[in-house]
C-alpha cells in the first residue's frame, strides 16, 4: 500500500530521498477528497522541517503541506495548477508537489511500515 522506497511524516507527506520529490500520501488525498487547488511555494525559498510550504484545498476541506525535511525548493509541479486532481489520481507519481535540495531533517522521517502503523491507529 505505502511504497517502501519513500519516507513519510506524521502529517501525511511523503518524500523520496533519491529524487528529492515531496508529495502527500494516498491516505491524505483520500481524507481530503477531490483536490481542487494547490498553493505551491516559490522556487528558491528555504524551509525548516515542519514549516508550512503550501496548501491543498478540496471542495470541503483545506490542509497545510508541511515540509518533511529542511532545505531549499528547487522545483514545483506546475501541472498541478491546471490539474490538481493529479494528487488524487497518482499521489506518488504525477501528483508530486515539489522538489527540494535537502539539508537535513531526514532522521525524523518514518519508513513505510511505521507510517502504516500510524494510519491504522488513526
Amino acid at each position: 500500500m505505502y511504497p517502501k522506497n519513500l519516507k513519510y511524516t506524521k502529517e501525511h507527506e511523503w518524500v523520496n530521498l533519491e529524487t528529492k520529490k515531496i508529495g502527500i500520501t494516498h491516505y491524505a488525498q483520500e481524507a481530503l477528497g477531490d483536490v481542487v487547488f494547490v498553493e505551491l511555494p516559490e522556487i528558491g525559498v528555504e524551509f525548516e522541517a515542519g514549516d508550512s510550504i503550501g496548501v491543498v484545498e478540496s471542495v470541503k476541506a483545506v490542509s497545510d503541506i508541511y515540509s518533511p525535511v529542511s532545505g531549499k525548493v528547487v522545483a514545483v509541479n506546475e501541472d498541478l495548477l491546471d490539474s490538481p486532481e493529479l494528487i488524487n489520481q497518482d499521489p506518488y507519481g504525477k501528483g508530486w508537489i515539489l522538489e527540494m535540495e535537502i539539508t537535513g531533517g531526514e532522521e525524523e522521517l518514518l519508513d513505510a511500515e511505521a507510517y502504516q502503523r500510524l494510519i491504522e491507529e488513526e
Binding site: V36, F37, E39, E57, S58, V59, K60, A61, V62
Partner: protein, 447 residues
C-alpha cells in the same frame, strides 16, 4: 400577537407523545440558579392593528426625503429607485430563503448573485467579484486584510479624503488584526500626491483611496497607481458605482482591488443600513477574496447551474486559518442592485451619471453666486458632490433651509476640524433645476 399554531389539544397530544405532562419538564436541565423567575420586563404584546399604529407613529417623528428636498449625501445617496425593485424583493421565495447551501432548490438566489458578480465586474472592469459584503466600510477593511496578506507587508497608507467613518472602521479592524494604518493628508480637497510619495516606502502593503473622494473630487487615480506600483504596494480604490457610468473603470487604470458602497444601486436610505459592500479584484487574487462566491457548475444530468464555490477560503472550512470571519453576505441588497442594474442597463447607468455631473455643475454655479459663499477647492473636478465655504455657520443655514422644506448638506466641521463652515452638498439626478434654484433663494434669506 404570536405566530404559533399550537392549539391546546395539540399541545397535550405532543406532550403525551414525549411522555411528559408539562413543557416545564423540558426546561429542567436549566439550573435553578440561572432560571429567570419573573416575567421579562417588556411592553405587553400588541395586536396587529395597534402595532401598525404604534410603529407608524414612531416613524412619523422622522423627517424623510419624500417630504423634504434633500441635498445630503456623504456616503448615503438619494437616487431614483424603480418601482419594480421592491415588488421583486417582496417575492418571499427570495427573502425567506437561507444562504443557498442546497443548490438544487436555491438556483434563484445563486443565479441572481452570479448576475450581481457580473454586473460589478462590468462596472469596475475587474475580473472577479464576490457575492457582497456588509457595507462599503467593512469591504474596505477586508480589502486591506487581503492586500496585507498578499504582499506580506503590514503597513497601509490611506488617504484622508476617504470617508471618515470608513477610516474609523478600517482602524478598528486593523487594530484587531495588528495592521498599521498611516493616513496621508489632503491638499485642496484631493489626496496630496507629494505627501503620498513621501509616505510611500517598501514597507507599505497597500494604498487606499476613494474616487470620487469624500469631498466629491475626482482623484488622479493613474498617478496614484503609478506611485504605489513603484513600491510594490497594492492599490485599493473605493468607488461610487454610479460614477462608473462616466468615469473610467478602475480595472483599466491598474487598480488591484476595487471596493465600494452599492447603496446607490436601488437600495433605500434606511437611516444608514442595510447597505451593500462590494469587492472586486484581479483573477490572480481570487483565492484571497473573502466571503461567498458563486460559480457555474454542471449537474449529473449535464445541466449547467450555479453553486457556492471556492468554499475552502471560508471560515466554516478554514476556521482559525480563514482570513475573514464573514459568513453571511447582503444577498437581498445584492439582488436589489442586480435588479437596478438590469433596469437601468448600460445606457441608463450612463444617463444617471451624466445627470449627476451636469446638475452638480449647475448647482456649483448657482450657489457660487450667493454672497458670502464660495466653492471650496474650485479647481477640482467633481462628480455628484462638492464643498462650499460659507461665512455663516452651517447649522444656521441648515435650520433656515429646513423651515423651507429643504434638508441641507453635511456640516464638514463634524469630521474635519479645519473645515468648519464648510458644507458638503450632494446633487443627484433626483434634484431638479427648480429645487436647486430654491436652495439658492432660501440660502440667501428668502422666506
Amino acid at each position: 400577537m404570536n405566530f404559533v399554531p399550537h392549539t391546546d389539544s395539540e399541545r397535550k397530544d405532543m406532550l403525551a407523545k414525549i411522555g411528559i405532562s408539562s413543557t416545564e419538564e423540558l426546561f429542567k436541565d436549566i439550573p435553578n440558579r440561572v432560571r429567570l423567575e419573573r416575567e421579562l420586563d417588556l411592553p405587553p404584546g400588541l395586536d396587529e392593528f395597534s402595532l401598525r399604529k404604534e410603529v407608524t407613529s414612531l416613524s412619523q417623528e422622522n423627517a424623510h426625503i419624500d417630504e423634504y428636498v434633500s441635498f445630503l449625501g456623504a456616503g448615503a445617496y438619494e437616487h431614483f429607485r424603480p418601482a419594480v425593485i421592491d415588488h421583486l424583493l417582496l417575492r418571499s421565495e427570495f427573502y425567506t430563503a437561507y444562504t443557498p447551501y442546497q443548490p438544487e432548490i436555491s438556483q434563484g438566489t445563486l443565479q441572481a448573485i452570479f448576475e450581481f458578480q457580473t454586473g460589478i465586474c462590468e462596472l469596475t472592469g475587474m475580473d472577479v467579484a464576490n457575492a457582497s459584503m456588509y457595507d462599503g466600510a467593512s469591504a474596505m477593511a477586508e480589502a486591506i486584510i487581503m492586500a496585507t496578506t498578499q504582499t506580506r507587508k503590514n503597513k497601509v497608507l490611506i488617504s484622508s479624503t476617504v470617508h471618515p467613518e470608513y477610516r474609523e472602521v478600517v482602524k478598528t479592524y486593523a487594530w484587531g488584526r495588528g495592521i498599521e494604518i498611516l493616513e496621508s493628508p489632503y491638499k485642496e480637497g484631493l489626496t496630496d500626491l507629494e505627501s503620498l510619495a513621501t509616505n510611500l516606502s517598501e514597507n507599505i502593503g497597500a494604498v487606499v483611496i476613494q474616487n470620487p473622494n469624500f469631498f466629491g473630487g475626482i482623484e488622479d487615480v493613474k498617478k496614484i497607481v503609478e506611485l504605489a506600483q513603484g513600491y510594490k504596494a497594492m492599490v485599493i480604490v473605493c468607488v461610487d458605482p454610479i460614477s462608473l457610468g462616466v468615469l473610467e473603470a478602475p480595472g483599466k487604470l491598474g487598480v488591484d482591488i476595487v471596493i465600494g458602497e452599492g447603496q446607490s444601486l436601488g437600495i433605500p436610505l434606511s437611516f444608514g443600513g442595510p447597505y451593500l459592500g462590494f469587492i472586486a479584484t484581479k483573477e490572480k487574487y481570487v483565492r484571497r477574496l473573502p466571503g461567498r462566491i458563486v460559480g457555474i457548475a454542471r449537474d449529473r444530468r449535464g445541466n449547467e447551474g450555479f453553486v457556492l464555490t471556492l468554499q475552502a477560503r471560508e471560515q466554516h472550512i478554514r476556521r482559525e486559518k480563514a482570513s475573514s470571519n464573514i459568513c453571511s453576505n447582503q444577498a437581498l441588497c445584492a439582488l436589489a442592485a442586480t435588479i437596478y442594474l438590469s433596469t437601468l442597463g448600460k445606457k441608463g447607468i450612463k444617463e444617471v451619471a451624466e445627470q449627476c455631473l451636469y446638475k452638480t455643475h449647475y448647482a456649483k454655479g448657482v450657489l457660487g453666486e450667493i454672497p458670502g459663499v464660495e466653492i471650496a477647492f474650485p479647481a477640482n473636478k467633481t462628480f455628484k458632490e462638492f464643498v462650499v465655504k460659507s461665512k455663516e455657520k452651517i447649522n444656521t443655514i441648515n435650520k433656515r433651509l429646513f423651515k423651507a422644506g429643504i434638508i441641507g448638506g453635511l456640516d464638514l466641521g463634524k469630521f474635519y476640524k479645519e473645515l468648519e463652515n464648510h458644507m458638503l452638498i450632494c446633487v443627484t439626478e433626483t434634484r431638479s433645476k427648480r429645487e436647486i434654484d430654491l436652495l439658492k433663494r432660501v440660502w440667501e434669506g428668502e422666506k
